[in-house]
């Protein structure tokens, strides 16, 4: 489209002013509605030879939702012309972390090469204090080559003094945007309007160079039989410029165009289909395209030109005119628009228009029905805004809304309020009309289950869940969709509860089922939630399986940009916990930090408990027993806040007591021990703790007795770790009793049990270094593991094993791998041959092949390379 056809002129002076301003870090353009801010930004951004990569975001009308704003900004940064980024835009989540999002935008901006300009238009529409605060931080910490332009109707409370003092803030104000008389002439000429010098001066004076006024005048003047008369009448009128000119312009439009503009003015976005619906006749597409081509305050929002937006000032005036001219039709128009939005699955718009139609009960019903899907789409602020729009009294007291309040409370962790609202909702559900009763009951039950999980109240929820997990036999598509959402949520909650109460096979089954369902119904957020819980539920499976589950959940979360969200925290913390057990402390630390970042907006005691446990284990592994005790004590404290008995309770308490004993406080540990109930006191974990206390008190015989039930398998234990620990404690007791032979046997048994998962941590925390050192190398079949453990005992962290290797070498045969595992030991080749019951020549052949395949020159470089490739673990030979 050439510029003359659009009626825009090249405002060279203004563009140059913006160029100069844009050399600073931040430029603000503050001017009233219709001053031409957006047009200026468009012209500047689209100018040939524009040296910046320009990322433009337009703030939606009355934007209350910080998340929507930041997602739009991130999208603009990723899709700025010339930007290479294959990443999908993250989807909205119920748990939005503003600071993390700002960091993400900043880091993506820093990764861009060349000059980048972030343009934020209509910033006055952003009504989220959190978003404005984070935006201030973004603007004051922009990377060197990144600049920003903010367009707003009024000065904003962004704290940019720092930039101002540094001379990095430029301002363009209303006076700079006004058309000069020369520009007014150019505009008229470009639009093919001939006007006398006097007429021109009059027009310029009357509009005071206000861009919207001039553009409106141009539309009316374009086909006016007597432009001079138009200008004379206009300047003679006392009416305000915009009102006069819009009335003039509307009057000059054909009837069908007037009807379309008025009736669609109540929409934020207009499509031809919606316009046809609201005007009751076809042909809207042609009109909308023609209006945009005539530059008549109508702009398309997509390259296909299916959605349009009216200039806000224009839309506001049209809306007033609609209410004045056709007041009786307004509710009906809103109702029709609402129906269209319901049919097209756009719940928030549907509810907004139902409210505008004055149909409060209908709006309450819609909001109750869609609160789940809106919550899952991360639109909690939208729900809150919709709730606020209900008038006090009949509207706001609608019992359907109790359900909505409860859903919002739950997302934000206000558990007591959620419970109160749920009681109201449950009472209402029993008296609701039959067609709604089932649906409401299901919704209430689902929320009650979520509440129970968050409170750690695990008992008595299974029945509710069975009710939920049965498929809803709904009539309508919405019934089925709602049913599927609720079922997926129910399966996630049920599986999570089962995992916490150690019904692990059931937990895995339900979580897997939930993940499959979530994928089928297109709810990636729920899929991530189920998979993350699955990672936790598989914590006592072979470590390779646990890690695979955790990594799958994390990878999926990363794909949607939720890698640091609370939803994936169970997988993050389980992975960290798994890594600490195998002595990969640095890697554990990395994942633990990521978990802590993910939990910034979630204070649930259930998940934080796990973080403290892993933190405690990591400190213990690094020999910092004081810090370890802090971690275990914090975990113990949170555990006591949960309503139900926690599945890991005996482990937390056991480790806390053992750490106290190791710190020379066996007395305190003893008194805690005495306070335990019988069930916990008889667990394997507490048996181990008792043994540690006895060892600290110098009673090795009592220590042996304490672990006896674990060793003979009669005490209940949480996983293999407890058993390995018990053998090591027995080994220490034997050594203290002077029975080195039994000590060696216990150590070898512990190594054998530890080998499949390459467990390292129990050796370190129990202080079994000396046991390992004392074990003759020819008496162990686990030399490689033993070497690794001693490395950790001597203060190093094992390199991560399960990161993909950089280059795949030619695969080693199983026999070669067996030989390889002896290379880190100090056994000679004849000794290795004897261990493996093969000839020295065979060993030599294998070693030669190993060197060749690993491209190693000698034994130590082969070991080095094998470690890098994670070939030394027993798991790799299977």
């Amino acid at each position: 489209m050439d510029r003359a056809a659009t009626g825009l002129i090249d405002r060279g002076d203004l563009l140059a002013a913006l160029d100069r301003a844009a050399a600073r870090t931040v430029t603000t353009i503050s001017a009233q509605a219709g001053s031409g801010k957006t047009s200026l930004l468009r012209a500047w951004a689209g100018r040939p030879g524009q040296p910046h990569r320009v990322a433009v975001v337009q703030v939606r009308r009355d934007e209350l939702d910080a998340q929507q704003f930041w997602l739009a900004l991130l999208g603009a940064v990723r899709h700025a012309p010339g930007t290479i980024s294959g990443a999908d835009l993250p989807a909205a989540t119920p748990e939005f972390d503003g600071p993390a999002m700002t960091d993400r935008v900043l880091s993506e901006l820093a990764d861009q090469s060349g000059r980048v300009m972030v343009v934020i238009d209509d910033l006055h529409e952003l009504n989220s204090p959190e978003a404005l605060a984070e935006l201030t931080r973004l603007l004051t910490t922009l990377p060197g080559d990144v600049h920003a332009v903010l367009a707003t109707r009024r000065d904003l409370r962004l704290r940019l003094q720092q930039l101002r003092l540094a001379g990095e803030l430029a301002e363009i104000r209303a006076a700079d945007l006004c058309f000069t008389e020369r520009e007014t002439r150019e505009l008229l000429e470009a639009s093919g309007i001939a006007l006398s010098e006097a007429g021109l001066a009059l027009l310029h004076q009357r509009t005071e160079g206000w861009a919207a006024g001039l553009r409106l005048a141009v539309i009316s003047l374009a086909d006016h039989p007597d432009p001079e008369r138009f200008v004379a009448e206009f300047s003679g009128s006392d009416r305000t410029v915009s009102e006069y000119l819009i009335a003039e312009m509307l009057e000059r439009q054909p009837e069908e165009v007037q009807q379309l503009l008025l009736r669609t003015s109540l929409l934020d976005r207009v499509s031809a289909e919606l316009a046809d619906l609201l005007t009751g006749r076809p042909g809207s597409e042609r009109i909308l395209l023609a209006l945009e081509d005539a530059n008549a305050f109508v702009t398309s929002l997509d390259p296909e030109r299916t959605w349009f937006r009216y200039h806000p000032l224009f839309a506001d005036l049209l809306r007033l005119e609609l209410r004045r001219a056709l007041p009786a039709e307004v509710p009906g128009l809103h109702r029709r628009a609402a129906e269209w939005f319901v049919q097209h699955g756009q719940a928030a718009d549907a509810i907004r228009h139902t409210q505008a139609a004055g149909d409060w009960p209908g709006a309450a019903r819609l909001l109750a029905d869609y609160s789940f899907s809106l919550t899952l789409d991360g639109q909690t602020p939208t729900i809150q805004a919709l709730l606020r729009a209900f008038p006090p009294g009949a509207g706001a007291d609608n019992p359907e809304l109790a359900l909505v309040h409860a859903a919002v409370d739950l997302v934000q962790g206000r558990l007591d309020q959620a419970a109160a609202h749920l009681t109201v909702a449950a009472t209402y559900a029993e008296t609701a009309p039959p067609d709604r009763q089932r649906r409401l009951r299901v919704a209430v039950a689902s929320l009650q289950l979520s509440l129970a999980r968050r409170r750690g109240h695990f008992a008595g929820v299974t029945e509710q869940t069975k009710f939920l997990a049965s498929p809803v036999t709904g009539q309508s598509a919405e019934d089925i969709a709602l049913g599927s959402d609720l079922r997926a949520i129910a399966l996630m909650n049920l599986g999570a509860v089962e995992a916490w109460s150690m019904s692990l096979p059931d937990a895995e089954r339900h979580l897997r089922e939930g993940a499959v369902l979530a994928r089928e119904i297109g709810r990636p957020y729920l899929e991530v939630a189920c998979l993350a819980q699955l990672g936790f539920a598989s914590k006592v499976r072979p470590f390779a399986t646990t890690r695979r589950h955790c990594r799958e959940a994390i990878a999926l979360a990363d794909r949607y940009g939720w890698g640091a969200d609370p939803v994936v925290a169970p997988a993050l913390v389980t992975l960290a916990g798994n890594l600490v057990l195998t002595g990969e402390f640095d890697e554990c630390e990395r994942w633990l930090q990521r978990t802590e970042r993910a939990l910034q907006t979630d204070i649930g005691p259930d998940i934080r408990l796990l973080v403290h446990i892993v933190r405690g284990l990591l400190q213990a592994g690094r020999g910092r027993h004081h810090e370890a005790l802090e971690g275990f004590s914090a975990a113990e404290h949170l555990r006591s806040q949960l309503e139900g008995s926690h599945s890991l309770a005996s482990q937390v308490t056991g480790w806390m007591l053992a750490t106290q004993a190791r710190l020379g406080m066996p007395g305190e540990a003893r008194s805690c021990l005495a306070a335990l109930d019988d069930e916990r006191a008889s667990s394997g974990e507490i048996g181990n703790a008792r043994a540690v206390i006895c060892l600290a008190e110098g009673s090795p015989a009592a220590a042996l007795a304490a672990v006896q039930d674990v060793l003979d398998g009669t005490a209940p234990v949480i996983g293999n770790v407890t058993v390995v620990e018990a053998h090591l404690l027995a080994g220490l007791a034997h050594r203290d009793l002077g029975d080195q032979r039994s000590a060696n046997q216990a150590t070898e048994r512990a190594l054998a049990l530890a080998e499949p998962d390459r467990l390292v941590l129990p050796f370190v925390t129990t202080g079994s270094g000396e046991l390992l050192e004392a074990l003759p190398r020819h008496e162990t079949a686990h030399a490689a593991l033993l070497t690794d453990i001693l490395d950790v005992v001597h203060g190093s962290s094992l390199a991560a094993k399960d990161e993909p290797p950089t280059a795949q070498p030619e695969a080693l045969s199983p026999t070669e791998l067996r030989v390889l595992r002896y290379l880190p030991t100090n056994l000679s080749r004849p000794e290795i041959a004897r261990e493996l019951s093969i000839s020295v020549n065979t060993v030599n052949t294998h070693v030669r092949n190993i060197y060749a395949k690993l491209q190693a020159r000698d034994r130590s470089s082969a070991v080095q390379r094998a470690r890098e490739l994670r070939l030394l673990s027993a798991a790799a030979t299977r």
Partner: protein, 82 residues
């Protein structure tokens, strides 16, 4: 901040027509020269609502003032709109 509603006059440049006036149903308009003066009893939030409307409609705001009642003759009402 005074929570009680007070009488405000809001002066806008130009004569407001029926369309724009419909945005201010709580206010009484009168013309004063080339300006329009809107008068009405507003509490703070209603006042800010009116100002937002003025901003949204691109109107040319000239002056806002609060009419303080005469302490001596509170019932005389001579300062109200005609």
């Amino acid at each position: 901040m005074d929570p009680a509603p007070a009488l405000y006059t809001i002066r806008i440049h130009g004569h407001l027509g029926a369309t724009v006036l419909s945005a201010f149903p709580a206010l009484v308009p009168r013309h004063l020269g080339a300006d329009t003066v809107l008068t009405g009893l507003l509490d703070r939030s209603a006042l800010y609502g009116v100002l937002a409307e003025v901003e949204a409609l691109g109107l040319d705001l000239v002056e806002i003032s609060q009419l303080t009642p005469q302490p001596k003759s509170p019932e005389s009402g001579d300062s109200g709109p005609p």
